[in-house]
Symmetry: C2
Subunit: 405 residues, 2 copies
């Protein structure tokens, strides 16, 4: 669970609101994040070819507005994807309604996201009815942001938010984000969403560069079961209301300071998603070193992270390094497995591709922790990568085999 | 379970034996398959880079003997892989001992396979002590072949064998095979082995071609969780003792007749492995049609087959087509998902990438069968592929999270 937010965590010039419009039975299911002045915006979307109309609409709006965005509207309870009737007009209607209520803005200044069941028709009228009051109710408060974080939940067991600050030119700059998704794992609940607000002053081009780099080592480095959804979206809005000078170049101290805060928020949210992975008991951090390249290390780490045999072994806290080595071996990356060393929870279990004497009972006990690292050193180069996943439990199967019928 | 074999199923000129040498507590753990005359041989091995010494030895023996082999020795209970001491000498010793007992043959005329736990030292002396009696005890009988099928089991719940016959030049030719492996799923139990004996007369080159083609549509088209093991081996020996004329060219009727029998045996064994997948309740057949190429269809079918979300949905007999479409979408193959049709258990559930009205209760009931087909038509070309997998149950997690510690 997150610590409660305080007023000082909230970036200047942003407002938030959430409500229950009726897509879910009784919980919050609709929210907005608004910048009171035009903000630079950047976003990364799902790489799945099957994309929801909301993703298509948001991409179009970013392009047409030249990445100058005023806000985001998001609903949970329905993904508005693969429905019998084309869902695109509904996505555009959601954005248009918010734009109108904010005072006749262009609809392309609003991004739109949906998350929930795939294939069921969206009751757009419930959303449109709720928007006017939602826009009137928007507040600067941290509590309103926490409600937004609740309104985007689907199978999440708790809301997820994270805040960070940095100093630019002596002035404080705030970065605040929320996310949903019990992993990259629920195409059916249309998975991973994250919204980040910051009062930094930065161009859309630099912001986009920072988001892509930060997402690469955080949101794109977590996996629960290798499934990506149709609706995944990470969006960041930067409105410059901190009063700090504009971040002007990639190499500079201002950019580095801002990037560190952005990456911290992204990493906290990404790890919160893995921790809350369906049925997960523990987070597994897989670090591969000594690969021929970073890309090679990344492929090996992902193959290990998505191996059901590795993940079930971790559910039983079993230091079963043979499964880890075998998963690396079938990654498609060439390496000399007879030079490979493996550590589980800090215990050396494999040296030069062969068993290394270790106390199995002690290793088992260490693996019962909430957070368990796996380290591989291939001794074949300088490439490295780090991926986070969770263990694969009986509870995961229960959740995913019974949730619809 | 298989029907019992009869004497007429056994190819001429082959003998078999199995024994308990002490690698397992009390069950059969060592077996041989011998051709009484030199046989043409072909084999396909694991594509995992991490390979057991037995695979290295068998590859070397095939090359050095120019694919003229007299037999196979196989042990279960220990994979002789990733052990602290180099396992290669032990694999060679197993082959050498059989070769010596058969009357001073060259060791390279014997193939060697091991299956069982990875990383634990192999007690080679137990095997070597048992070989003389094993060789003396070899018999022509079908019952001896069934014992061999039992001796190679690890987590398998029952032995697996299959027989087929064909006519070449008016003479009967027999193909008889056995296999082990509760799926391609147990790197730790060093998975999938299959041995096939036939009294067809065929050159090693043609035999190799036939085996590769037959394995492609059978053993290489099954998957339980996408993990390949370090020891996977499929070997076929053809000794020509049927008296039928030598199969001489790929296009001819003789080859076609033999290939059909070989493929039938391979398919029976492959499906038996999937059916016996750890914790499996049902076999899922995934057929993709209308892809731009066979290769594209294969990639999509495999992605669906290895999606934990699809497999858990089938455990619950949930006609959750959204997960199937989303898995296809992230296969890396370009296709127009808005033209895609999907059927589950014969029920049309998705038309043009959108929900198609269907009776969910009736579909659920059909999905409770032992064998459930999924069909996709992408309407984008003439490529097709077929892959078999099993559902992903709570029992799978139980087996794999608790088996060692």
């Amino acid at each position: 669970m997150n610590a409660p937010l305080s007023a000082s965590d909230v970036p200047h010039g942003f407002t938030f609101a959430a409500t229950h419009c009726g897509l879910k039975r009784s919980r919050l299911d609709l929210g907005i994040l608004i910048s009171e002045t035009p903000a630079a915006a950047a976003a990364v979307f799902t790489t799945n070819q099957v994309v929801a109309p909301s993703v298509v609409a948001s991409r179009t709006h970013l392009r047409k507005s030249r990445n100058r965005i005023r806000g985001v509207i998001v609903n949970s309870g329905n993904a508005n994807c693969c429905t019998r009737v084309d869902g695109y007009p509904a996505s555009v209607a959601m954005a248009s309604k918010v734009a109108a209520e904010l005072g006749d803005l262009d609809p392309t200044q609003i991004l739109v996201c949906s998350t929930g069941v795939i294939g069921a028709p969206l009751h757009i009228e419930k959303i449109l009815e709720a928007v006017p009051q939602l826009v009137r109710d928007r507040k600067v408060e941290a509590g309103a942001f926490e409600e937004l974080a609740r309104a985007i939940m689907t199978t999440d067991t708790h809301p997820k938010w994270a805040a960070a600050k940095c100093r630019i030119d002596g002035k404080q700059v705030r970065v605040l984000g929320c996310a949903k998704g019990s992993g990259m794992i629920e195409p059916n609940l249309a998975t991973m969403l994250a919204f980040i607000a910051t009062d930094a002053a930065i161009s859309p081009a630099l912001l986009s560069r920072a988001l892509k780099a930060a997402a690469g080592t955080t949101f794109n480095s977590i996996t629960v079961d290798g499934d990506t959804s149709t609706n995944d979206t990470v969006a960041v809005l930067a409105n410059g209301q901190s009063g700090a000078r504009t971040i002007s170049k990639v190499g500079g101290a201002d950019y580095k300071s801002f990037f560190a805060a952005l990456e911290r928020v992204c990493q906290s949210l990404a790890l919160a998603i893995v921790e809350d992975g369906e049925g997960a008991q523990r987070v597994i951090e897989i670090e591969v070193r000594g690969a021929s390249s970073d890309r090679a290390a990344d492929r090996i780490a992902r193959r290990i992270a998505n191996s059901p045999l590795v993940k079930t072994a971790f559910a039983g806290a079993d230091p079963n390094w043979g499964r880890i080595l075998a998963a690396a071996g079938r990654s498609g990356v060439l390496f000399d497995w007879q030079r490979t060393d493996i550590w589980i929870a800090g215990v050396a279990v494999c040296r030069h591709g062969r068993e290394h004497s270790f106390d199995e009972a002690a290793a088992h006990k260490k693996m019962l922790a909430k957070y368990v690292p796996i380290r591989l050193n291939l001794h074949s180069g300088k490439g490295s990568a780090r991926i986070w996943t969770c263990d694969f439990t009986v509870e995961y199967v229960h959740i995913n085999s019974s949730y619809r019928t």
